[in-house]
Symmetry: C2
Subunit: 169 residues, 2 copies
């Protein structure tokens, strides 16, 4: 390959993906949520198979997507990105609303949310791409959605080097 | 639905997707290209089934992805977004290189490209999501990748109202 760094030029947003299965619920950070079709509105979400949220989505088909804004902190994102919900209740001290589908939706640092149900999925080895038919959605604020590029260049730059989740990359 | 405008808060990049089948070749604008897995590197690309590029990708499995930069003009993007390659050779006056897979890659206003072959696809009604295993990639410049938000708020704002492709939305 001439220069694999080309792959890092693709653009992404910053999202919290949530799900629920009975009394089990969880939420995790993800950067891949994209609208695929307009009629009906379907969003693709890619989730690592090892994640607890993946297990809940597979079981219930329910998915919540919170769109993070540029004011989200490194610590907040780290909680959803680096800690596993199997042994830590990430939602305990979060601002959460219950969506129409029953899925918990994290509203901290979120300007919008989308919720829906999986109508189809694609197995890509380490990850599953879930195709989520939108059931409900709302705008929560006029905050600017955070891009992954902004997170990498601005938010990580502000992170204390002593933070347990600090990464040099 | 409480407010469907929530869906527009998702983030996207700006890409030219190209393909070739024998002596037929084409390229089109798309905003949905995102990495799904790292091992192996696989990129998902969503293409409308009515597009000529869709026909070529289905036939050859070859896909080129050019990452557009913020200096791309409204006219340039419009050529790939609003005109159909079945009756107009979009590549005739474009800067194009031939990738390792034989696919034509548009390098105008591009800071990077990725090329590969479809290993799997998902039928989502109006669109097909192609999962492209990366075969080669390169960085072409240090230009800033254009976000769809930048296109909508900055590039469209600069477009002459008399442009044939001008849209009020």
């Amino acid at each position: 390959m001439k220069n694999a760094a080309a792959i890092f030029k693709l653009s992404y947003g910053m999202y919290i993906i949530s799900s629920i299965d009975g009394d089990k619920k969880n939420a995790q950070f993800a950067n891949t949520a994209f609208q695929i079709t307009a009629e009906p509105a379907v969003i693709a979400v890619s989730i690592n198979k090892q994640n607890y949220t993946h297990e809940l989505i597979e079981a219930s088909k329910k998915v919540g997507i919170s769109v993070l804004t540029e004011d989200a902190t490194f610590e907040f994102i780290g909680k959803y990105g680096f800690r596993c919900g199997r042994d830590f209740d990430k939602l305990a001290d979060a601002a959460v609303i219950e969506g129409s589908t029953g899925v918990p939706i994290v509203t901290d640092y979120a300007c919008a949310y989308i919720e829906g149900e999986v109508i189809q999925s694609a197995d890509l080895g380490t990850h599953t791409v879930f195709f989520v038919k939108v059931k409900d959605a709302d705008v929560l604020s006029d905050g600017t959605p955070m891009s992954y590029d902004y997170y990498h260049n601005v938010i990580k730059g502000k992170a204390p080097k002593s933070a347990p989740t600090y990464h040099e990359d």
